[in-house]
Symmetry: C2
Subunit: 479 residues, 2 copies
């Protein structure tokens, strides 16, 4: 197949995709398939001879579509949004075509250089402190990771490496293994599971910090834990704060936690995977106050900022903390400019060496929406969540379970967990809208997230009507 | 922007990409830019108001293209190929449009299920032992990782977790920290830098095993190291074998190393990132003999199998080894089917939770090329490397530095490293073809890799002519 084929088939695929997106509302948002549905529908081996594109495309409709949860549908309210937009889709097409693998500056200079500058653009949009920007002579800088999981893991690894060095400088006879076994990391009991998982991967102990009535970690609580652990001979070294938890979008009090971490030489990493995008709006920026005390900060433009997955933006104040931890230089990756101090080799900044040209997505989206367009998008999402919140509050059978700050509403039917579990099960079975649950203080709670870019007021109203209808039926049955 | 905009702009982008690919040969393959070239070419902040698509596209030509190493060009012979093809590009477009994030089965069943079956298809194409396939009741199975780095890291983590458990079962009073500090991993001195890096990340000691005259690790050598380490109280637990090393595409002798690892309870992981694709050809399959002794196996369809980056295929014999290591289950990721034993939640199989719908690329490519088409592609690449090898061998001023088995030729001018460094520098300066170097036994060696899908005999011949011309000038100057 050659470029003439691509020219023809590519345009057909554009129409296929446009048709899909235009009619997505008519589809059942959540699939009605059983585990293992797909295997019997296709051959058990790859074909020996080529098949036609028409056959493949037919099978997309026959085999794939029935098993898709339609994340782009305005009826999708599960998890958090998976960003997408026309500029982002166009940039992905270009990125795939160029196909450069940007592990070093030399592997494709534009790929590395645009990423550095785009992370500066983005950092300025969030009003990150100057320390986090690369600029032309800064010590800090940003990098695109695949996911927040990877950003957390990299921060944890950098913090560990730094702490071991630091302790050994003061006490040269102490072994790395001994220090390692005494390290303690902390995060909120409401933090994303990937934070605890990063500690498991790294093999260090991580303690869960209890939260206050707003599901926020407070300095007082962490301070006590740190003091106790130090007294017992342990070495506190890392705290992962969350701005916008996955369960209920709560915010740790980084303005009081930051000074504590700084005083205790604890690396503070901020995971703002979902909420981070909102900080480009002046009215939400106060939620980020305290970032000046952090060592690293991360959020996912691929959630609320209309950029396609994956694009997780991470900044550090001292890039040498990241790059110094696992720097390796085999000959086949060496290049003339690497020791000049002028270049960035992003392979030292993350787990994978190979990297796609992801900054193109940021460039296209930031330019074609402009800051004002992106602010409008975020404000609309938050407003629709507020609408849903007020619909819930107006119905005495329901309760709101956590403060609604951005685009997520946690709610439940007053009553038992079983009742709410039954409601969610019924919602899923109907497949008209899609929600998932969370646990808050042990209680089963429904999460209603504003997700699709194309969502409008009527979708929120219809969703609420659907939920109340199902609830009526349920409550009748239970009485 | 809406779908009408996407319909129009998407088709324009298809033409833009097709034009780029059709005329790529006319471009300077390697850019002539200095570090920092890009920043002054664009504004220092994102725009407040939207800019036009025309302006963005104009800047792709003005700002991006001058800094691109054209990996798709038939003049590109650096590193290893970055796969791409029309079916793969089409599948990427579809995957981006669907935008489902497949961290669990429930997050989009088709995304998980197609991946399971595609890895079975691929495993059968390579004639992997039945143990590695998921089938309908198997213990093994495959998963798509982003890169081989991640596959190696996951294998290492699984091996570590398994060994710690195993030692503690025999000796319940021994602490994990103590066991951990005694663990030793091994890999070839010729292994990719990411293998050693995985050990650094994990915090375990990794020893480099010397290779024989063919740059292959032999059982005898590893056996001696393991015996010595055991005698000194250490716990050997992991060996990463390489099939197709990055420097010179050499192959460790897994058919003799495998039985040793099995006898010593050492996890054998096979990294066949580049070479793995070739095993779909019967004539190259013997290189994989011994895989039956491995615990995990990995190769990158995004290198030689025409699939766009990223798509790194990894198999394990016992998936519980991977999933048992870091299983975490918060409420918002729970779903009805997860405990049924019927579903696979790929979030337990890798570092990132979020995952793109990458198996679509495999499905499109395997079907639209067929096994025969992919075999033809690989054979053509290997044949062109053989052509280049014979051109080198026919010129007495040059020497071949490693056996040419697949699509890579390691060669150098007879003489000093300085001479060869000067040759590479001149090649890079001219920008007509692009090569990188490696070190073999401390000597500076040039690598000529067959990369682009569109490469033909004439490109190889022209490249050789260019190299010999530059060499003539150099040799004249040096005499």
């Amino acid at each position: 197949m050659d470029t003439a084929e691509y020219r023809r088939r590519g345009k057909e695929m554009v129409d296929f995709v446009a048709d899909y997106l235009e009619n997505i509302e008519q589809r059942r948002v959540y699939p009605d398939v059983e585990p293992g549905y797909l295997r019997p529908m296709i051959p058990s081996e790859a074909p020996l001879e080529p098949e036609s594109y028409e056959d493949v495309l037919r099978d997309v409709d026959r085999v794939i579509m029935p098993g898709i949860a339609h994340w782009r549908s305005p009826h999708f309210h599960a998890y958090y949004p998976a960003g997408s937009s026309v500029p982002s889709l166009l940039a992905e097409m270009l990125s795939e075509a160029l196909g450069c693998i940007g592990f070093t500056w030399a592997a494709s200079p534009a790929c590395t250089e645009l990423e550095i500058v785009m992370l500066d653009w983005l950092g300025k949009m969030l009003q990150l402190p100057e320390d986090f920007l690369a600029g032309t002579g800064g010590q800090g800088g940003g990098v695109i990771q695949g996911t927040a999981c990877e950003a957390t893991l990299m921060a944890l690894l950098a913090a560990r490496s730094k702490k071991v060095k630091c302790v050994q400088e003061a006490d040269p006879l102490r072994s790395a293994a001994d220090i390692f076994s005494k390290l303690i990391a902390y995060t909120s009991e409401e933090a994303h599971s990937s934070v605890e998982r990063a500690a498991l991967i790294d093999g260090v102990v991580m303690k869960m910090v209890p939260t206050d009535d707003n599901f926020s970690v407070r300095a007082e609580t962490l301070e006590k834990m740190v003091a106790e652990d130090k007294a017992a001979g342990f070495i506190p070294f890392f705290f992962c704060a969350t701005l916008g938890t996955t369960s209920c979008c709560s915010f740790d009090k980084i303005d009081e936690l930051g000074p504590l971490c700084n005083a205790e030489n604890i690396w503070m990493h901020i995971d703002a995977a979902y909420a981070g995008s909102s900080f480009i709006c002046p009215e939400f920026r106060p939620l980020l106050n305290g970032v000046e005390f952090a060592d690293s900060f991360n959020f996912n433009p691929h959630k609320l900022l209309l950029v396609n997955f994956d694009c997780s933006a991470m900044w550090v104040k001292r890039r040498v903390d990241l790059t110094g931890a696992f720097n390796m230089d085999p000959e086949y990756l060496k290049h003339e400019n690497q020791s000049s101090g002028l270049v960035t080799d992003f392979r030292h900044w993350g787990i994978p060496l190979g990297r796609r040209f992801r900054s193109l997505k940021l460039w296209f989206v930031l330019r074609m929406y402009g800051l004002s367009g992106l602010q409008a998008h975020i404000r609309k999402h938050v407003e629709l969540a507020k609408v849903f919140e007020s619909l819930v509050r107006d119905d005495k059978r329901f309760e709101i379970c956590a403060e609604v700050i951005l685009g997520l509403v946690c709610f439940r039917l007053k009553g038992s967990d079983e009742l709410n579990e039954a409601l969610l099960k019924e919602i899923t079975r109907m497949g008209k809208i899609h929600l998932v649950a969370c646990k808050l203080r042990g209680r089963f709670v429904l999460r209603f997230a504003i997700c699709a870019r194309s969502i409008e007021l009527r979708h929120v109203q219809e969703a609420w009507q659907h939920i109340t209808e199902l609830s009526c039926q349920l409550l009748l049955k239970h009485h």
